[in-house]
Symmetry: C4
Subunit: 236 residues, 4 copies
């Protein structure tokens, strides 16, 4: 019972450090974890570069092992101080924390390198932007569904139309309606890579009509999100 | 007369299922038809892929025959329960329903495959977005006409200008003012595929001036539609 | 004196037909001239196509001669009914009307074909959009000057930067700061043709920074014009 | 003491010319310096062109020497009339003025040509736009930080995703996550040069999802700047 008290006291001591950003110690802890996430992200990004030397790879490997150790400690400490550990395990951030370390143990650091990018999501915990996006999203959920569906409809009809016009002229480029969808996405978002584009007069005229009608439709969901985000700022 | 009563009772029973979304049976009917439309759309999209096997084609063919049978039943049931059948036949949705099945019977499922994409429009009946677009469009009809014409004017003048500058330097690319129009559409919507672009100093300077003036003009109609759509949300 | 009276009466009779859109005769006259302008524009556009036959060219040639005859009559009738003929000659629309016909007489329909595109501007006389653009432009004149200059500054600094980064790596593409300006215009308007783009890490990082800062700046003038145009609608 | 008086009087005479735009002499001085800056910018731009003759280079060289002389005089006069010279030297405009002339003396006009582009920044002193950008920036500083970070997060996650999808199919194009970042910047700003784009079905589907979510996020910072700039106009 005496020992239990010590543990209980320790937990009461550590909890505010980990869960709150109000105390100096809490801010230091947050900064440390955020720096680790950044190191992890930069290290992963560099590791994907093809022309790295063997020595450099060894350095990256040690960084990775240290980071996994730190993130594992962080995970168990969070689990320990949490009042309802099971709720934490299945919460969004609990799962992100778990997936950040699990692939390393499963493969002994082998082939699941890419999953390390998920660690980036750990930073969301510290991001005030996240809450705004959540509020903005809830506010315009119904709108987004309606206009998102309208955008999908416009994209699909544009895809079928361009396929009908261009498939006979460019059977290797517009092989199926799927290629049409790719063209419609690149065109209506105005990205326009230039890998697929109409060459027939019919296809070009159709593109003109699609842009005249479609730009206004496809632009609505992202305009809604942008304006909702700036409205949310007053409530934040 | 007794038999006529049964028919009348049956019609009174079926009508709310088909025409209303308030009753559970009506909602089920709507979900079934919507699923069929989706199956039809996906099936058509897959059918356009070039590398399908003969067996796979047979499956798609059976799906198509079943769907045409279902949509034909749906069409006649709608016609039968409708109080003014002729009005339904020549209404927008009546025509869409008819064109969704007619090509199959005319060609015994032959060469008019592409017309099956029109079935996508059947989904509009269930889309709340449709009504908003209609209201938004009515609200800004006069505006759209004025600024749509202004956009056409800017596009045409840009097309003539770039043709004059670039035709001597790239006679194979800017063959006529029509190529200029295609360039103007791709440029002023900022899609910029990169299949046609100016190479002379005069043409590049002209492009700069056209973008400086034209972006503001061509952006107006789609900005009007987007802002009108978000205004309409309050009235919906 | 008696004859002078007839002329005066005739002028009084014709003037409202030509200058007003309120009377039925005035509306008919306007529609005729607008149709002629459209025929002229379409005829010019078709004439630029390279693969026209000799017979087709003869038809276009007759149309052109007829149109010049009609526009010449229109010009002299306008001059005649006008109370202050000299003011009309040097007014914007008077000059447009003159340039629409003059090249034909100077070269007997020869090499100044391209100037026929100017006839398109005759349609502005009938366009309600024109007045709105004029009002919108006056309203934001000072703003446009300030932010237009800011955009030019951003474009120039981006051009110098990309030239410094990319010239050593791509001396044939980024030959001088002028090529950098062309790149900056295509990039900051998000057209992105893909004829010039950075390939060095420095140039790509610089592009990222330029886009982060520049998109907000370059978008301002056209956003100002678009929002001013929709404000003006209430006053029109 | 008498001589000191003359100097003091001269300074009192020259100061309003240099520091104020209210007096006619002040306006003339400003116009002269602005013209010199413009000449310098145009001269630098032309100098980067590869096909210049030796004679032409000599002319540009003389212009450069004259301009450095004038800007040096301007710098020392500003230093002399300034009440707190040290504050001027380390102010933004003081440093810009110094960097505009220093490279010439350090290298006797040699290899630091590119630094001459910095002279463009001298024009900011005369730009009313500058103040607005400063005010707009202060107003939305916190917003910009939050949404700028969110944009960076979206760009990085998009980069990792496209690298995972496209690296096996295009190892020469998507060599590392850095190429993915370049692709994400070009795509989410809708520039779309077309030098890098996905070719696998997975990569294209991922692009569609990234655009659906990301356009709304990445557009926010520049939309914030644009709307803040038009708000600031009322306070200016």
């Amino acid at each position: 019972m005496h020992r239990g008290n010590i543990v209980r006291d320790l937990r009461a001591l550590i909890r505010p450090i980990i869960e709150s950003r109000e105390t100096p110690a809490g801010r230091v802890f947050d900064w440390v974890i955020q720096s680790m996430i950044l190191v992890s992200v930069v290290s992963y990004t560099i590791e994907t570069m093809p022309e790295r030397s063997e020595a450099f790879y060894a350095v990256l490997r040690s960084i990775e092992i240290s980071l996994v150790a730190i993130f594992t400690c962080e995970y168990f400490v969070r689990l320990w101080v949490e009042k309802r550990p099971w709720k934490f395990i299945f919460s969004f951030y609990g799962l992100v924390d778990l997936i950040s370390i699990l692939p390393f143990y499963l493969t002994m650091g082998g082939d699941l390198r890419a999953l390390r990018a998920i660690r980036m999501l750990k930073i969301l915990r510290y991001s005030r932007a996240m809450n705004r996006f959540r509020l903005a999203f809830i506010e315009i959920r119904a709108e987004l569904a309606v206009f998102g569906l309208a955008s999908l409809l416009v994209i699909y009809l544009a895809a079928v139309g361009i396929y009908i016009f261009e498939n006979p002229a460019q059977p290797e480029i517009f092989r199926s309606v799927f290629d049409g969808i790719w063209w419609a996405v690149a065109t209506l978002t105005t990205v326009g890579y230039g890998d697929v584009y109409p060459i027939t007069t019919g296809g070009k005229t159709f593109t003109f009509l699609v842009l005249a009608v479609g730009l206004g439709v496809v632009a609505v969901p992202s305009a809604l999100l942008a304006s909702s985000l700036s409205r949310v700022r007053d409530k934040d």
